[in-house]
Subunit: 128 residues, 2 copies
């Protein structure tokens, strides 16, 4: 596989993120910090506590993410941040019809690891 | 309108970007620099010349973007970069059915203005 270092980090991150989201949402708290931002549909919150509160109180409990595309780019070459764009499907609470979604992350380096500095999530409704 | 400074910049940028894309695609060159990156579907290119070449040689000539959602966050508080996520519809070459798309930009400050450092574009196919 011809995969750059940042592409591998992006892939490992999103695999972990969606698995954790679907299986144990509260554990996503380890991925955010107090300067992190989350835009989830029309709602914008900042800081680990508010972000986890938002993610815990979404109007669905059971959810399965299926990723369709994953793209990444170095976001700040010197500093080592990574921009990630995901598209995929979201199957919610046993609803028959999945929803399309898109989610953009900026991962910021912290020691030997990364955390989520920016996170923007949107449902994508079918084109009319 | 309760709009932060970075939100206003994001809105002005995307309005200009999509208008220019639809009316005079080659003029998008002013928005990129030699360290800019573009991922357009499966293809990744870098630098103004390669990016404009890619955008000029897409498999459609006439295109109309209709934005559905626009979200932005400060990407690096100290430095003033802005992360932008757009979703919308793309009407191509008079095709009857529009396509859904998502596009994530990172805008980097340059003097009194901004340029596109990161740009990732994906068509979003309807959930199965």
């Amino acid at each position: 596989m011809d995969e750059a270092g940042y592409e591998k980090i992006a892939r490992l991150f999103v695999d972990f993120y969606f698995k954790t989201f679907d299986e144990n949402r509260v554990a996503l708290g380890t991925l955010y910090r107090d300067d992190s931002m989350l835009t989830f549909e029309d709602k914008k919150v900042g800081g680990t506590a508010a972000i986890i509160d938002k993610l815990q109180n979404l109007p669905f409990q059971q959810v399965v993410h299926r990723m369709a595309t994953l793209d990444s780019q170095p976001a700040h070459l010197g500093e080592g941040s990574i921009l990630v764009l995901v598209t995929g499907e979201l199957q919610v609470d046993g609803q028959e019809k999945p929803l399309s979604f898109t989610q953009s992350f900026q991962l910021k380096p912290e020691g030997d690891s990364f955390y989520v500095f920016n996170d923007i999530f949107r449902i994508v409704y079918p084109a009319s």
